[in-house]
């Protein structure tokens, strides 16, 4: 009866939020009514790690903008995006990025950065505080929504100025209209921005011609805010009647400054996990980075290569993941002898070139769900808002964090 009572409490808490939030995903419990307590010192450690690593990624991106086509190809960037990712439209490489970390006995290690289309935003910046208040905990993310607001506004105006705009831009927040998480994340950012002259448009409502991009009301768009739609998917968008590759046409419009875009093009440059190979091998060779940056890489980053042999030679377990992949899809874990330990059920990114990274097991914790207490692996996320460390949060689930993972709110101990 204990957990029946918890299910009722959870339902009572989340029911009013369902109008613009997603306590369940894929017909499963997603947002827990539970809180994982950490010390202020640990929060500071997470943010320090994320911000330092963010600087490493940004410095690497600036260098790769100057690389030739074949280097970008080796990093698995689609050819259609080369000119796009060489654009530098604003100071930060990404407005909203999320660094995924794992706590180890040697401190926090970075698994990857989602620089282009991170979700998990409303959970950490908004819902986390509501859960903390409900359960009597102190919210470590308190006050950070205001900084997010400022960053979103600044990014929109920077994008508008980049295309030569003056005055008030017409801004459209777009996502898949039938995907609740994407839609409500986009609407959250739209409302949070407080910008006038904005609307929400589902992706299938957008139209394009040789002059520009338009919303569902046929109004020309100045800045497109596409928080959740990956560029590597966009380039496969076609008009089914005319065969026009509308995604490529949109990239061309962005390159020609006919429309601005947020996250900026440079965010996609950080999206390939091949960047982690670049960082690690330059670190091993003692190149490019300052002595302090080399110390940060050694402290926070994991060995990552394009081949598994580096780990098999040392009998070190490793993870294989696609340069462009999401939510654990197509990720597999191997023993040090190269035999398979575990593979995610989803295999949608087999066409993306893989990277191989040293395996670090996610720590476990016990969480309260409507089905009872469960032991689950913890992945720590820390947002970088225009390069500055911001809200944190936990995803808990399988040994590989996937679509079936829970959102576990975070509170301050003591």
């Amino acid at each position: 009866m204990l957990f029946g009572n918890h299910a009722e409490k959870r339902e009572k808490f989340y029911a009013p939020l369902r109008k613009d939030y997603w306590p369940e995903l894929y017909d499963m419990e997603y947002s827990l009514l539970d809180v994982h307590l950490v010390s202020q010192e640990e929060v500071d450690e997470i943010r320090l790690a994320a911000e330092r690593v963010g600087k490493i990624f940004a410095k690497t991106a600036d260098m790769l903008r100057k690389a030739d086509d074949q280097t970008l190809w080796e990093l698995d960037f689609p050819a259609e995006t080369y000119e796009y990712i060489r654009m530098k439209t604003m100071e930060p490489e990404s407005v909203i990025a999320r660094v995924d970390l794992v706590r180890t006995p040697d401190g926090y290690k970075v698994l990857e950065i989602n620089a282009d289309t991170p979700t998990f935003i409303k959970e950490c910046f908004h819902v986390n505080g509501l859960v903390c208040r409900e359960l009597g905990s102190k919210d470590p993310n308190r006050g950070l929504e205001e900084r997010l607001t400022t960053a979103v506004r600044q990014a929109v105006m920077d994008s508008y100025r980049y295309i030569g705009g003056t005055g008030i831009p017409y801004v459209v927040f777009a996502s898949h209209g039938d995907h609740i998480e994407d839609k409500f994340t986009s609407l959250y950012l739209k409302e949070l921005s407080g910008l006038v002259n904005t609307t929400y448009c589902p992706l299938d409502g957008l139209r394009i011609d040789e002059d520009g991009l338009y919303d569902q009301y046929n109004r020309r768009i100045d800045v497109l805010y596409r928080q959740t739609y990956p560029v590597e998917n966009l380039i496969h968008d076609y008009d089914k009647d005319t065969g026009i590759p509308v995604g490529k046409a949109l990239l061309e419009h962005i390159v020609k400054r006919k429309v601005g875009v947020v996250n900026p093009p440079s965010a996609f440059l950080l999206q390939s996990k091949g960047i982690q190979v670049v960082i690690w091998v330059l670190h091993e060779e003692g190149k490019f980075f300052t002595p302090e940056e080399h110390r940060w890489i050694e402290q926070y980053m994991l060995p990552t290569y394009f081949e598994p042999e580096w780990f098999i030679e040392d009998e070190t377990p490793y993870v294989k993941k696609p340069c462009f992949g999401r939510e654990g899809d197509t990720v597999s874990i191997y023993h040090g002898d190269g035999s398979l330990m575990y593979a995610d059920k989803q295999m949608n990114y087999t066409d993306s070139a893989p990277v191989y990274q040293e395996f670090v097991e996610l720590p476990k914790t016990t969480v309260r769900t409507v089905e009872g207490e469960k032991e689950a692996h913890v992945l720590t996320g820390c947002f970088l808002i225009s390069g500055k460390a911001s809200a944190i949060g936990f995803r808990v689930g399988n040994i590989i964090t996937d679509n079936a993972s829970y959102f576990l709110p975070v509170g301050l101990r003591g």
Binding site: D69, T71, P202, D204, L206
Partner: protein, 126 residues
């Protein structure tokens, strides 16, 4: 040469040289034909360069055709050729990149839709 080494050599030799010297970056200079793969267990003599696909293909005698090829820095079974994203490097050298020159996509003044259709290959934000 392993892809990791190849990438490092390219970056250190050219892009980084420009960055570190303060000079403008120079394009990375690759040979038209990338180096033959050097992979343990694969005999050097059986790698054949496929001009049309722009890739090294492994063709051991009696191997029953072409079970392996070297693409994007990794070994693949030939079945990957049937996957949606497969595109040999030779095809992108001919210029599929979006450019800032004249538009190449519109032949009429009508508006086109279809945004979001590319997500059928799996995935939204993450």
């Amino acid at each position: 040469m392993r892809k990791t080494n190849k990438l490092l050599a390219a970056l250190v030799g050219t892009v980084l040289a420009g960055s570190l010297s303060g000079c403008g970056p120079q394009p990375v200079s690759y040979q038209d034909i990338p180096p033959k793969p050097q992979i343990d267990g694969y005999e050097d003599q059986y790698w054949k360069w496929d001009e049309e696909d722009g890739e090294w293909e492994y063709e051991p005698p009696g191997g029953g055709g072409m079970p392996w090829f070297f693409y994007a820095g990794a070994l693949h079974r030939s079945s990957i050729r049937n996957t949606p994203g497969y595109k040999p490097y030779s095809s992108i050298k001919s210029g599929s990149s979006v450019k800032s020159g004249g538009s190449s996509f519109f032949s009429s003044s009508g508006k086109a839709g279809g945004f979001g259709s590319g997500s059928g290959r799996g995935g939204f934000g993450g």
